[in-house]
């Protein structure tokens, strides 16, 4: 379908083309058999679609809103029940129990490995190094006395 027809198709089908566009479309259609054929198909399809226009649709009976509300409440209840049902389902409970056991086992092994690291205690070299770095208790006592004297003065 050529652009000039495609651009004006919706208005053409709705019968709302402006006079100027109408002339342009008709002039093109006179010389284009393909567009004439395609447009005829589109027009036929448009007529078929319009057959769906509501005819004597039933009116909502009184109390419709109340029934909608009840349905909403039922859906809400159903969804909360399904959450509980999923939680209480035996298969789900088994999975939770298995996961908890796995977690406990991992935690236990982690704690045991930490304990074994500390049970050996620091090496003699480490102890000596710490002692050398730290001021002796004698030195610290002198330092404290000097501070007190200067404060007193």
């Amino acid at each position: 379908m050529h652009q000039v027809i495609q651009d004006n198709l919706e208005e053409y089908l709705a019968g709302s083309l402006r006079a100027e566009d109408q002339r342009q479309v008709e002039s093109h259609l006179e010389g284009c058999a393909d567009c004439r054929r395609d447009l005829a198909s589109m027009r036929e399809m448009s007529g078929w679609l319009q057959s769906l226009r509501g005819e004597q649709a039933p009116e909502p009976a009184s109390g419709f809103y109340a029934r909608v509300s009840r349905r909403i409440a039922a859906v809400e209840e159903e969804s909360s029940r399904s959450i509980w049902a999923a939680l209480l389902e035996p298969a789900f409970a088994r999975r939770v129990a298995f996961a908890s056991l796995l977690l406990l086992a991992s935690l236990g092994s982690f704690l045991v490995s930490r304990e074994s690291d500390y049970s050996q205690g620091p090496t003699p070299e480490l102890v000596l190094a710490v002692e050398n770095e730290a001021p002796s208790s004698l030195d610290s006592r002198d330092h404290m006395l000097a501070t007190l004297v200067s404060y007193h003065k």
Binding site: Q6, D7, L9, E10, E11, A14, S16, S41, M42, M45, S46, W48, L49, Q50, S51, L52, R53, G54, E55, Q56, A57, P58, E59, P60, A61, F64, Y65, R67, V68, R71, I72, V75
Partner: protein, 197 residues
Amino acid sequence: MDYENTQEGTLVHRAQAGEEAAFREIVERYQTKVFSIIHGIVRQRNDVEDIAQQVFAKVYFSLRKFDFRSSLITWVYKITVNECYDYLRKRKVRKLVYESDLSEDEVRRTENSEPAIDHRPLADSNLARQDYVTKLLSKVSEEERTLLMLKEVEGHSVEELAGMTGMNENTIKVKLFRARQKLLKAAQRLDRAPGAV
């Protein structure tokens, strides 16, 4: 004026905030329209109310997601059309399951007891045409179906559709053109293989 700040936009905001009176107003404002759309597609008077209830329940649960890009009626229209096609799909599945439980003789008897479209009196030819169009519409996307129905069934102009959907007029025209082409192709396939849809 921005749709969100219109009177209807304010109504939607109130409903989104959980105000029951606002939701009730939405239901009462659009219930007749929803009934009409449903009846136009499924044409089962007994099922119209049930589908309409389902539509408004969906509107209730999805309202918080409504982002004001289209008008409320366009959004409700789309939900309604989708719900109708869900219903038709389920009905088709139910029919297939029912038929699979029957013997070949029983299936043949059931088929013969249904009025065949081609042999219906002339007064029913419109029903056959509606069935056919409904089937064709199931072959395009949800968006294309909604646009085609808003244009052809509801009679909105391209300009109105642009206002309702938040798309520009050229986009609407291109989408409608593609949708119409798909419908024609689906119709050609259907003619080649009758009963395939």
